[in-house]
């Protein structure tokens, strides 16, 4: 362990700030976090903030304005390690569910009408890694306390954090739940990264995919299965894109292109 505490910063962009709130909600460990690290900047937690060189920057939210883009680039430049926290920062979040569909102008108009927005110039929300290099991802909606704390502990100790790479189904089976998908209902478990402890399926609520895509997902197989179970193609695509962000948008785009080619 280095004698000097690592300098960290916590930043939020387009999102609900739920991940920063989750950090503050680590009440029993807050003193330890502030003791083991030097929190240079965390606007949601304190007023005395200093922007300078950082060992680790935690970035929440997707990037959706020119001002945010400038700021995230600037944070990247002065941080040794940049970690995306939360599904919005990691994958884009629900605000990126229509990525690749070319509907941004239409959506923008629907929300803002003809109002003149001068605060910042907005563009379609994208994950942080669409603009700057991200060293590590801690997804979640919001992030899981234990996953976050174990990762911070490892970073402080100078070790590489380990997060589950397998899908929700594995944790779901550990908790000995019946498979919702096997029973014919929509469940995004196989497409979604574990780490939540399969909390929804453990209460018999299907996974909606809020942890974002897992490393090795088979969208095409899940799509075929759900279609076989009677779900409409539009509904399947809409549901898997909800938290799928850039990665799922790209896969779905490729699948649709293949289907068009097969038809032609």
């Amino acid at each position: 362990m280095t004698k000097q505490s690592p300098k960290i910063g916590v930043y939020g962009f387009t999102g609900c700030a739920g991940d920063q709130l989750m950090i503050l909600n680590c009440e029993d460990q807050l003193v330890d976090i502030f003791g083991a690290t030097e929190v240079r900047s965390f606007v949601m937690a304190k007023s005395d903030n200093h922007e300078g060189e950082l060992d680790v920057a935690f970035v929440e939210g997707s990037i959706s304005t020119d001002e945010q883009l400038r700021r995230v680039k600037e944070i990247r430049e002065r941080s040794k390690v940049l970690i995306a926290i939360g599904t919005c920062a990691c994958h884009g979040g629900p605000q990126a569910m229509k990525l690749g569909e070319g509907k941004f102008d239409e959506m923008y108009k629907k929300v803002y009408g003809n109002a003149k927005i001068t605060l910042a110039k907005a563009f379609e929300a994208q994950p942080v890694d669409a603009f700057v290099k991200v060293d590590m991802y801690i997804p979640g909606c919001p992030i899981d306390k234990t996953e976050f704390l174990t990762a911070v502990a490892k970073l402080v100790a100078g070790r590489h954090p380990y997060l589950y790479k397998f899908p929700v189904c594995t944790e779901c089976k550990w908790r000995e739940n019946e498979c919702i998908l096997y029973n014919g209902k929509f469940c995004a478990g196989p497409l979604t990264k574990a780490g939540c402890g399969a909390i929804c399926p453990s209460h018999n609520i299907p996974c909606v995919g809020c942890w974002g895509p897992t490393d090795d997902l088979n969208v095409s197989a899940e799509y075929d299965l759900l279609k076989e179970k009677g779900y409409k193609p539009e509904e399947i695509i809409q549901k898997i894109k909800k938290f799928g962000g850039a990665k799922v948008a790209q896969i779905v785009g490729e699948l649709e292109k293949k289907k068009k080619e097969a038809k032609a």
Binding site: L149, A157, P167
Partner: protein, 341 residues
């Protein structure tokens, strides 16, 4: 080995008495399915249930557990906090599964964590009636002769009770009044009849004969790619398989210190990360390659090494895989060179 007789109405009293040895666990309803749960009495158990969602391996080798605590000076094994448990209602297939686990965890390299749990767990087996997914008849695991402490065969009016270990015998000696050694001609006839009856109950006609050859012949079959396209890589098959034993380990440290724990958790060769090595190379990057490894291990390689398949015919993969990839569909697809719909 010794076989005793017990009146069926005496079972609740017997299980009540053995609780003195340790916690009583048995099959209990969970939604439409069944799980092994801690119980107070036989009345809470569902003995008609065919299979639990997860096999009893979870008692001997839990989903995730801490192996030891460490600091900068060394480590201390987490031992002694495993409770003594009596598992009642374990079926022959699952006991065969435990015997395979024993081979892997207790023979060449004895795993202290498995050994401690195995030592503190008593297996009280119970006969079962096969459903349409049971195929233990094809894996020769429909009956069991070892691996249990006691085994109860339900012969309608009474139980025949096999005593399989000295610990099992100790349990019997807690209530000698409930057991009888007077077995007569009728008991033998009843038991023979029961075996014939059970054998006639199987609905699955899956046949694993010749599978090692079929796997060898089909190593490069396009069937693997077709199965790979279907597989969700969800890992459920591995978690529910009574003989899947692979694990991953990770060190977790406490915030601001170098003290921590080494944890072990269930892993799966169905995951890409499993075959990823330093430098970024992956031995089985394709889903098809990973599926082939899993099924080859179960129905070919293990037979070559130990003379029997690493499938005990419990039917859990059949009852779990959402896209219908299981020992039945895979072996059929390989034999017929076509992936069924």
């Amino acid at each position: 080995m010794m076989i005793l007789k017990m009146k069926k109405e005496d079972l609740p009293a017997f299980l009540d008495s053995v609780k003195e040895w340790g916690e009583l666990w048995g099959p209990v309803k969970k939604g439409e399915k069944v799980t092994y749960a801690k119980v107070d009495a036989l009345s809470q158990m569902d003995l008609k249930a065919t299979r639990t969602i997860i096999p009893p391996k979870k008692f001997l080798y839990p989903q995730r557990f801490t192996m030891f605590d460490f600091d900068q000076d060394g480590y201390v094994e987490r031992k002694g906090d495993v409770p003594k448990r009596i598992l009642f209602g374990i079926h022959p297939c699952d006991i065969h599964g435990i015997l395979i686990m024993d081979k892997l965890f207790l023979e060449n390299y004895k795993d202290p964590y498995y050994a401690e749990r195995r030592e503190k767990t008593l297996i009280l087996g119970h006969s079962c009636i096969p459903d349409d997914k049971c195929m233990c008849i094809a894996t020769n695991t429909d009956f069991i002769a070892e691996g249990f402490d006691l085994f109860f065969t339900d012969l309608k009016m009474f139980y025949l009770v096999w005593v399989g270990s000295t610990k099992g015998h100790d349990l019997v000696r807690m209530r000698p009044d409930l057991f009888s050694r007077d077995l007569d001609k009728n008991d033998i006839l009843n038991y023979t009849e029961y075996r014939k009856w059970k054998t006639a109950q199987f609905k699955s006609n899956v046949d694993f004969t010749g599978m090692p050859d079929v796997f060898e012949l089909g190593y490069n079959s396009p069937v693997w790619d077709q199965l790979g396209d279907k597989c969700l890589s969800c890992g459920q098959c591995t978690m529910v398989c009574p003989t899947c034993n692979c694990y991953n380990q990770v060190d977790e440290v406490e915030l601001g210190s170098l003290e921590g724990t080494r944890d072990r958790f269930w892993d799966s060769c169905m995951f890409r990360e499993y075959s990823l090595v330093a430098g970024g190379h992956n031995f089985r990057d394709k889903r098809a390659d990973r599926l082939r490894l899993w099924y080859t291990h179960k129905l070919q390689a293990y037979i070559g090494e130990f003379g029997k398949p690493a499938c005990v015919g419990c039917g859990r993969c059949v009852a779990t895989c959402p896209v219908d990839i299981n020992v039945v569909t895979v072996s059929t697809a390989l034999k017929e060179q076509e992936v069924g719909k």
